[in-house]
Subunit: 345 residues, 2 copies
Amino acid sequence: MKSEQKNITIQHVAERAGVSKMTVSRVLNHDSKVSDSTRAKVMAAVQDLNYRPNISARQLAGSKSYFIGLLYDNPSQGYVSQFLLGALKRCRASGYHLVVDECQGELKDKVRITRDFVNSTRVDGVILLPPLCDVPEVLETLKQSGTPFVRIAPDVDLEASPYVCMDDYQAAYEMTNEIIEAGHRDIGFIIGHPNQGASRLRYQGFLDALRSNRINFPPEYIEQGYFTYKSGLQAATKLLGLANRPTAIFASNDDMAAAVTSAAHIHGLSVPDDVSVVGFDDVELASTLWPPLTTIRQPIAEMAEAAIELIRSGKLNDERSKRRASNRHVIDFELIRRESLQLKT
Amino acid sequence: MKSEQKNITIQHVAERAGVSKMTVSRVLNHDSKVSDSTRAKVMAAVQDLNYRPNISARQLAGSKSYFIGLLYDNPSQGYVSQFLLGALKRCRASGYHLVVDECQGELKDKVRITRDFVNSTRVDGVILLPPLCDVPEVLETLKQSGTPFVRIAPDVDLEASPYVCMDDYQAAYEMTNEIIEAGHRDIGFIIGHPNQGASRLRYQGFLDALRSNRINFPPEYIEQGYFTYKSGLQAATKLLGLANRPTAIFASNDDMAAAVTSAAHIHGLSVPDDVSVVGFDDVELASTLWPPLTTIRQPIAEMAEAAIELIRSGKLNDERSKRRASNRHVIDFELIRRESLQLKT
DNA sequence: CAGGTTCATGTTATCGATAACAGAGAAAAC
DNA sequence: GTTTTCTCTGTTATCGATAACATGAACCTG
């Protein structure tokens, strides 16, 4: 019904190469020792027939499914896209495919969706994006199912599974140094959402950079935000309304930094001439706005690649290497220099 | 290795219900006539054992794979996320799963990735997002493979497959009317990328709305853009620099509308007090910026649902219903009223 | 009431791969 | 020179479901 040409199976390849199906299977799996000459014959036959193994048959017969699951609830829109970019690149290179699902809703919905997902797809492993990766019940469900999983930038319960992340503390530290090196001494800071660990780390990095440069600052230079544009607008309005207003403002994410830029316009201030602004994350908005934001690029695609590689390598199944290796895999960030931060004249 | 508990198969369900495997299979597939009493027994057994059919076995034995493919090259970041939202919702409701891949690169890479994708995943159908859905070679590859496919907002070769879209012309027409009803008579327009059909349709909708309201306008009110922020900035600078500058500007997408807002600030003009701005698409940016943009919401999630439904229903396989039904499925847009458009005083 | 229909269910073969074991031949060991 | 070992390849059973066909009971129908 579905396909015009008959599917080419491992049997056809075997006949053409003049060997048994099993030998073909071995070649395809880079498996044990096959002589170079037969390997060449088989590869030639595979090429000639343009053979692709049937994933379902593989999955049914073997232990691997060649599918990796990606689960998320509600990260920002760009996050998923960028993650897919890196993940798919690595999947394609290794014959895997990505099955995606989304766990919105109540806690019990998340658990149910997660359980049904692993039960019905039988993926080799699951990747959890934030903030889903911090829901203990979901982690527990996955553990019970026996499916290995990797978390991206988790916040809590770091022992629960391997995870991939970036160093928020160090990034904030370096960004603060960058601002200081541009000549600024009066630097405002907008903290992120108090429930997210990244907020603490970024704040701490900022504080420590100031301290190590022996810069003191009045308490009114610190404002609490919630990672939203709106909260950034309120915080920025306070900061820019100060008699001794800061000459640079470091917002804990780009949305709030964009809000700072808008607030500056409303106050009749120019960015970056009157006030410098920097953000964090390097979302699409950061390079779209004028002036484009100096910010920290989160290596989302690279984290994705690392996560795929962890699952693919099978290290998560193996108790021995599980204990040997560290759970933590840190990927380098990048400080992106754009026009929103300027040398203080 | 992977799973602690032995997998429960259709055999276990059959034994527990005291029937044959085949009967269980029939119940699961809402298939032919099974007596209500046995159906109840089977369903009870399924519940008790928390049984989920093994997708690979189903796929291998049967004609359906319960996987649907999603292919794209480079739509905007938000597009993919929003599409996934709708698609996954519908998939979950019907026991399907979504396998995602991305076709970046040269033409021959796109073709190769597409071919490998359908060969190795054996999905029941493929959804193509723009602009990938307008690559004739990819369409040809899919046709040859015999895999049914649906396109989202295609631009060319509309006979090639069923597709889901919105009415760009009508949306632009209504938006223009909205501007006129707000009292504006001097309306600037920024055209989108000349290679994309949506640009023509939106432009034509704008023109026809003006004509039907008997409004004339000087040629310098029309500027060519390319759907990018940068091109919007240039176009807006020209429009706002005119001696008889328009009191409202309709940009063919939100990125360019955002640029118009920035350009207005640079010219010392306030939005919407001095100049109204409207966009198209309702991307994330549109509600993040200040003032938030009046725009047209593209029903991306709804188009996704419709596309899944087309594949799931199997209408694409069946030659008879293929000929009977129209290829075109239009989903309603929505005009989103926000602060960037104001009554002309 | 014999013979055909229909309905509900069971039986057997099959999808396309891998696992586990078996075996043949060459190289190494005694 | 025989046994052992190792390398390579083939055979058979199996994964968990559905397709296609077979069967037996109930139900008409003339």
